[in-house]
Symmetry: none
Subunit: 228 residues, 2 copies
DNA sequence: CCAAAGCGTTAACTCTCCCTTAACCCACCT
DNA sequence: AGGTGGGTTAAGGGAGAGTTAACGCTTTGG
């Protein structure tokens, strides 16, 4: 169960934040942490996360604004809101802004962990196979097929493809791709280009339907060409 | 907001069930109802639902078993569990079986409604799109369509368009546009003019309905033309 | 223990496309 | 006429993206 989840905790109460991080650590899950809203929003824009744990009361920019901000950028990472207030009105506000779950302080740490895992499961969860058009990725066998023909990919190529397939048809920024593949110690920028090149060479077999697209200034997207 | 949701309520307490159904009715949402686990499972297997509200204490077959049953059939409809018990252990059990949310009785009816809507929203993959007339901007794909035809824009053009669409039908000053696109180090004044020109050339395809308007002395506005 | 193969990274090069700039045009107003 | 605000056009320079080859690390098998 100890998957490789990427969690972001946006919480200004240092004690609470540390407690959360420690608990996740016990589960074998590492988290990033931001102590204010602006920093949180920055991290979210430039990284890939599976779940965002977001306190409402934050310095600089409150949780609701952060949530609104990330949704308005088209990012739909699940958001779990934390708050001290238990009024229905606050919940309504939170949910209507785009939050996915809502936990009232004080809460049992275990419940936070569980709910976080549930949220992540929906997204990247117990799916064995990703399919986009005639492209198939079997996550267990680490096998890729295009039009029922097996394709041989390098480990890195496979990771890139996985990321793109998970997000299809969304455009994935280079930063997110690199974050997904290499984590925090990333190689020189050029490496991604080379891998993309190799990926394309491997995946785009027939010249009729290309799936991997470059979106200038934004990144890459995996999808059927929309010009029908 | 009154989408066409299909909800199933599996609850043996007739009063509570009716209350729930009535509340959803007020929101313009119709629900099916099952008063025991076996019946619930039957309905779920043979119908499509967007969300299932599932009491744990049920005659014939309890909620946990029902949930296990539907998951083992590969049905991944979101499940919201209801229970009188507020022990962590129960929640863990519920979530690990495949539930997506968990509400402890007594609860506020509004909260049930909201959480249900949130669950359905995530499933049906809410789309982040800005729309003005027949112009569509997909924030996730970074793609622009006019009358269902894809339009290719440069990164800068896209940013300008995004700014205009967010503010529609308001008039946006040049300063604001430039701030949005370039931030603090802005190029010479002329650049915006050129980009606006290119934007127009790309967006105003048919000559019938023009969307981008110049408001002399103030800036630009994106809207259906209405010469005041 | 060595050799070969596979993979990832790097650097260097090319190419394309986009942004900027500057110059010119037009209409309208004073 | 001249000034002002806006529109149009073309050219250059540069950044971003694609391509290729070589080097080095790790793994594997003999």
């Amino acid at each position: 169960m100890a998957e490789n989840l990427q969690i972001l905790v946006v919480e200004d109460d240092i004690d609470l934040a540390n407690a959360i991080i420690e608990y996740f650590d016990l589960e074998g899950i590492q988290c990033d942490h931001a102590s204010n809203g602006v920093l949180g929003l920055q991290l979210i824009t430039n990284h890939h996360y599976d779940v965002i744990i977001l306190d409402i009361n934050l310095p600089k920019m409150n949780g609701l604004e952060v949530c609104k901000g990330i949704r308005s950028q088209g990012i739909d990472t699940p958001v779990l809101m934390l708050t001290a207030k238990d009024t229905l009105d606050d919940k309504v506000k939170g949910f209507s802004i785009g939050a996915d779950d809502y936990l009232v302080k004080p809460f049992a740490m275990e419940e936070l962990i569980i709910r976080t895992q549930v949220l992540s499961r929906r997204r990247s969860g117990q799916v064995y196979k990703l399919t986009v058009e005639d492209l198939e990725l079997d996550l267990q066998q680490k096998q890729v097929k295009r039009a029922d023909q097996e394709i041989k990919l390098s480990p890195t190529g496979l990771k890139i493809l996985e990321c793109l397939m998970r997000e299809t048809p969304k455009t994935v920024s280079r930063e997110k791709l690199m974050q997904f593949v290499w984590g925090d110690d990333q190689p020189d920028s050029n490496s991604l280009k080379v891998h993309m090149f190799n990926l394309r060479k491997a995946v785009e077999i027939d010249d009729q339907l290309s799936l991997i697209h470059t979106i200038p200034g934004h990144g890459f997207a995996l999808k059927r060409e929309s010009i029908t």
